[in-house]
Amino acid sequence: MTTLLLDASVLLAAFDPDDKHHEPARALLEDDETTLATIDLARYEVANVAIRGWRSPGSVAPLLTAIDRLADDGGVLASTGTLLTRAAEIAEDRTISVYDAAYVATAGDNGLRLVSCDERDLVSKGLAVLP
């Protein structure tokens, strides 16, 4: 059984029917046969999009609740100095941001499969799969 590591874009897509990946992202969150996890960075990223992108402060609580539900399943993995050092190396090697690389490093270090809606920087480079 593979544990899937979700980045913030998957969580956001699941809550936004306008997103082209909404249906598969939502189906993934509602799937009861898969272990789902994320990293602590996702809390900041979803809250940031809800406030600054969606202009929807009321969306913050449900998004954070969704992450709490992942904490009860596969977990919300913590950033550490070691992890971010690895992320910095990956960011340099793959020309992606350290934020994206933090997800990639966490997936790699824990044997997880990264799932993202980021086709340009993650999926196209073989670093993640679409939901």
């Binding site: 009861d32 992108g53 449900p62 399943d73």
Partner: protein, 76 residues
């Protein structure tokens, strides 16, 4: 199937063995079933909570989630 060594307190092991005798199976099979059941319950709990949450809270926000994440990150 991988073989692993697991440390268990004596009283818990006694209960596992009693369950194995009761169901006519092995210690390994009991532990496998308990682990599987516990994980399945965890997934089902998360999935059920997500279904309720998404039914109530999903709303149109313009899409492009991945771009939104990048656009709202702090500038380097």
């Amino acid at each position: 199937m991988a073989k692993v060594m697991v440390s268990l307190p004596d009283d818990l092991l006694s209960e596992v063995d009693a369950e194995a005798r009761r169901t006519g199976t092995t210690r390994s099979a009991v532990m496998r079933e308990f682990a599987d059941r516990a994980l399945r319950r965890r997934h089902e709990g998360r999935a059920s909570a997500m279904r309720s949450l998404l039914a109530e809270e999903a709303a149109p926000h313009g899409g492009r989630s991945a771009d939104q994440v990048k656009a709202t990150r702090p500038d380097p």
